[in-house]
Symmetry: C2
């Protein structure tokens, strides 16, 4: 999102379960609805960040930490090249959206790692749900001034980060 | 919020209308509820950022741009000292929260200006509503590891940014 800022990314998430729902189609670089799914925060130390957020939100039980890595159904690509990038993730469900903590791990290149090195950490992206992703979206976004930074997913969904 | 990241700030907003509502009291550095009011994004050029967000959200009408400056009821303080800092603001109402765009203007010091110089722009803070603010809160937050960076307000409300 270079027009807005040098460091904020918009993420579009596709959940396969919703793929047949036409109301989630994007057109002309617009999100299908203005429900923000989550904000993604890149951190140096996910255990410490999780402690701080659990305290701020007054949670007795901390959320789990999981590992995000490429899945054969949706291998991770960074700036057009395959990458074995991994990250630790932890999600906090707030009343109206989720907070995603992301700690990049390993040496492989990723947008998470680049952001951490550039900024020291902070809000990396805001996420909206869309239908499908694929070439059409990437092209539509490019036309509207967004560049695909990273793309990946899991068995039942995928994500794209757009500058 | 130094434990989480070097650049993310938590903002607490008090709206006077709710001051008598005890459910909005904070204790032990916890927010009274986990409804995130808005995310505040510091930008270099608010007109360009507003255009991008209006396009992304598919809005026909762009929101107004207003000027935030100190009010005699709640003069602005930055790192404990008075400041005449000003900023242009613009708000987008999404389905589940608001996006606040902030462009610092003028030469006076502020957390907005410092953030823009350090990062080039991006998400500066996430905001929660609390009851009152004052010394009790600032002390309570300090005990829990948060430092007051900036404080100010308008006629009917006030805000505090905590590292």
């Amino acid at each position: 999102m270079t027009k807005i800022s040098s460091i904020l990314i918009v993420a579009f998430i596709t959940l396969m379960a919703f793929k047949s729902d036409d109301s989630l189609k994007m057109q002309d670089g617009r999100v299908p609805n203005t429900q923000m799914l989550h904000i993604g925060i890149v951190v140096k130390d996910i255990e410490a960040a999780r402690d701080s957020w659990a305290q701020l939100l007054g949670l007795a039980k901390k959320p789990d930490i999981t590992i995000a890595e490429g899945h054969e159904a949706n291998p991770t690509q960074y700036r057009g090249a395959p990458t074995g990038a991994k990250a630790k993730l932890s999600f906090f469900q707030l009343e109206n959206l989720r907070v995603e903590l992301i700690e990049p791990i390993g040496d492989e290149r990723s947008d998470w790692r680049e952001f951490l090195e550039k900024t020291g950490g902070g809000v990396h992206h805001v996420a909206f749900e869309v239908k499908g992703m694929g070439e059409t979206y990437v092209d539509s976004f490019k036309t509207n001034g967004y560049e695909l930074a990273q793309h990946g997913g899991w068995e039942t969904g995928e994500y794209g980060y757009f500058d």
